[in-house]
Amino acid sequence: MTPLSSQSTPLDAGWDIEQKEVLSALGKRKAIDKWFSWLALFAVVFSLFVLVVLLADVIIDGAPVLSWNFFTSFPSRRPADAGIVSALVGTVWVMVLVALFTFPIGVGAGIFLEEFVPDSLIAKAVEINISNLAGVPSIIYGLLGLQVFVRLLFVITQGRSVLSGALTLALLVLPIVIIATRESLRSIPSSLRQAGFALGATRWQVIRSHVFPLALPGILTGVILALSRAIGETAPLITIGALTYIPFLPELSLRGLQSPFTVLPIQIYNWVSRPQTEFHDLAAGAIIVLMVILLMMNATAIYLRNRFQK
């Protein structure tokens, strides 16, 4: 728009028209803005509503079966006597082991790929492959676990054991952990690294005392989210031959690593497919337990993040 508008009338007229246009367009833009915010609100309300309905359904069915007996009994053909102790202990066993395996390997691989490997074609190929691995269906990992951990490494794992299950799930979540670690490291400004190098620090020193501590909250969140995925997996564990009924618990020793096991998702799956509705209620109860464990893990992630961020 020309600042000399006061002289000629045609320009004035033009300015008026433009202003009108702008105003009307503004109204339209504001309407779109409002419309979009309503749409977004609807998306939130809708998904929350679905979640609340699902939760309410599960809690209404499952809450009555939650009793001390439910946590301390083995599965039974009589719904009133059935419990989840073997599945619960199995789940805890497996998750602890998965965490022990994935944290050092996944985070280590992430740091190596992000901090030590120069940007090359091979690095890119590895990166793409890891991203692809993160998307491979879990049953494929089950087949791999069956062949490698259950059959080839029988001497160490003793077949369909807690250890085989944990190793299989560890493989499943490793790509997720590696990707989360790399993302987290990438978000640390490179000026920090350069400052360290300028002061004569080695790469190891820079990572250990500056980059890694800063990236840790993000890494931990990634690891725990990965574990949250592993805890709900059924297919790969059924494939490697996790059991459904075991009348004993793995002992708390290294031998326990080689003992057969079952986990909550398998128990839930089994109960859901039974004809008797009492078993469906037991499944709902087990779902509540699994959900509480999941929420506790996520709470731990948040706690750790806040703690390390200080």
């Binding site: 053909r77 003793q158 077949g159 009924y245 075991i246 009348p247 290294l254 859901v272 004809p275």
Partner: protein
Amino acid sequence: MVLNKKMLRLGYSSALVAVMASLAACGGGSQTAAPDAGTTETAAGSDVSGSVLVDGSSTVFPISEAMAEEFGAVNPDVAVTVGVSGTGGGFQKFCAGETDITGASRPISQEEIDLCAEGGIEYIELPIAFDGLTVVVNPENDFAQCLTIEELNTMWEPAAQGTITSWNQVRSDFPDAPLGLYGPGTDSGTYDFFMEAIGADGESRGDFTASEDDNVIVQGVSTDANGLGFFGLAYFVENQDRLKAVEIDNGDGCVAPSAETVADGTYQPLSRPEFIYVKQSVADDPAVAAFVDFYISPDNGYLVDEVGYVSVPSEINAKVIDRFANKTTGSVFNGGSPIGVKMDEVL
């Protein structure tokens, strides 16, 4: 803070090293509970110890679970574990020698017989229960009281796909109402048996609602006024208030599915035997022998009934007990189907 982190790290890494080291160390060790000796007396006795690995069909699982539970109460030193790999998956593991007993909702197939021969696994085939596949309709359906095998075949055969879509195409005096079909997934033993039994050559039309979870079929038929589905008798018994069972006419009049008609052999051809296959090489193992004796004992048939199946009639059961006592190996079906086979005669 620094100290904290250091301690955490130290504890963590040393724990990991310890785990790895000792695992490798005890890797060669024997399994916790795997007795080889056969010194203890056979049959049920509370001094038997050892482990029994059971796997296989999900249909047989509730029976095995009930048996394992009650057996464990009398024999606390025997660890019986039960897995669910499906009938086919169970045979894969069984023929590779990985399990002692495998449950099956159909007889061992020719391919699996070859697989076991390859693995050098000999097996004892024991029918342990019967199940009646039940054809169900919505309670509002007042016309389909009884269906013949031919009519079921008309509905389900591959040629019916896209053409048989209304009830009056099945029988002319049925109303012109859309036919809604529900059934188990194509890789389930129940599907195989049903299609074989109605003469559809083990295959069916593709345009029906398939679900691996029978409860979904219950849900489907109970909400579709013109629906029809099939599954094991137990799923009907538990849902009698919202489903109606169709009587089956095999040429000798209409027979309703029930524990009685399945047991006395009049509910044909949709009654099917359920099996366990015991690895012959471990049949002398005191733990396995005690468990199988318990499993096939007529005193424990009530457990089969309790979980929703039909226990084996006593005259057949006596032959099953003989079969295990004599360790008769092989399958009486020779890889074929059990339809029309009189268990009483072949055992």
